[in-house]
Amino acid sequence: MDILQQVGRDQFRTDFPEYRVGDTVKVHYKIKEGGKERIQVFQGIVIQKRGAGVSKTFTVRKVSNGVGVERIFPQHSPNIDKLEIVRFGRVRRAKLFYLRHAKGKASRIKERRRFTA
């Protein structure tokens, strides 16, 4: 098993801040089209993290023009240019699928208090 973990570990991205489910994040994702590369920003709430090792992924949900949009990113993808945390959220679930049919007040997430030195 160790060899497998090592193969995965060699590809890890360690340059991201530690984010949790419930946080609002901005994912700067590199998109290659026609030989050109540009960066697209996807901002939304992290509603799940799944998998382990290199195959770990996270799902970001946003509501765009009244339509819910979810994107799944591989956590260790070299195509993620940058990941910023916009807001720390406090939630009591590991998976926030209830947001898919929560409306108005129910879809709010409390801000997480953090220690500031």
Binding site: I3, L4, V7, G8, K30, K32, G53, H76, S77, P78
Partner: protein
């Protein structure tokens, strides 16, 4: 086809330069040593006999140890023969040559042979992907059975080759044309795209195509 003996480590994934994910199987292969050679004159066919995984003398059966010693080789747990495919020459491989994963290049294709995972005496749904029957709507007794397996008085027998329950898996399976995605010379690892038969740590034969 010439190749190496190795072990299956397991599956993981690799990101390429574009960020695309490729599923790969990690295999630990070699180093293998040419223990002896088969020749047309002496044996009627050509092949390289490779040894893999050294063992202590006390763990090696006497007659087998004799075979190794005759050729001045260390003792190995596994001995397998590789026959050259059309156009391949084995003259360059002397007895005692060590073969390592560097014989594989990126984007080579390989054939991987191993014993598949045993599934025991399996029913027809698992073994042949039959549909089975409905779980309700009046179906009784037979939920996972094969249904009808033939006709009546003519031919009054079941045709050979009819798909029925039986032993599934634990047989020698080869998967061809697997692309080599990465070779790690330092650790003797080779990563091929896709799945490979067998469980973790099962013995695999990796043969170079072309």
């Amino acid at each position: 086809m010439l190749g190496l003996i190795g072990k299956k480590i397991g599956m993981t994934q690799l990101f390429d330069a574009d960020g695309k994910v490729t599923p790969v199987t990690v295999l630990k292969a070699g180093p293998c040593r040419v223990v002896s050679k088969r020749s047309v004159e002496d044996h009627g066919y050509e092949a390289l006999q490779l040894g893999y995984e050294e063992i202590k003398e006390k763990n090696c059966p006497r007659p087998v140890a004799g075979h190794f010693k005759k050729n001045g080789s260390p003792l190995y747990r596994y001995l397998r023969e590789f026959r050259p495919s059309y156009g391949q020459e084995i003259d360059a491989y002397e007895v005692g040559t060590e073969l390592k994963v560097d014989m594989f290049d990126l984007s080579d294709t390989v054939t991987v042979t191993a014993n598949s995972k045993g599934r025991g005496f399996a029913g027809v749904m698992k073994r042949h992907n039959f549909g089975g029957f409905e779980q309700s709507h009046g179906v009784h007794e037979s939920f996972r059975g094969p249904g009808a397996i033939g006709q009546c008085a003519t031919p009054a027998r079941v045709f050979k080759g009819t798909k029925l329950p039986g032993q599934m898996g634990n047989e020698r399976v080869s998967v061809r044309h697997l692309r080599v995605m990465k070779v790690d010379l330092e650790n003797g690892l080779i990563m091929v795209k896709g799945a490979v038969p067998g469980h973790r740590n099962s013995l695999v034969l990796i043969q170079k195509e072309s």
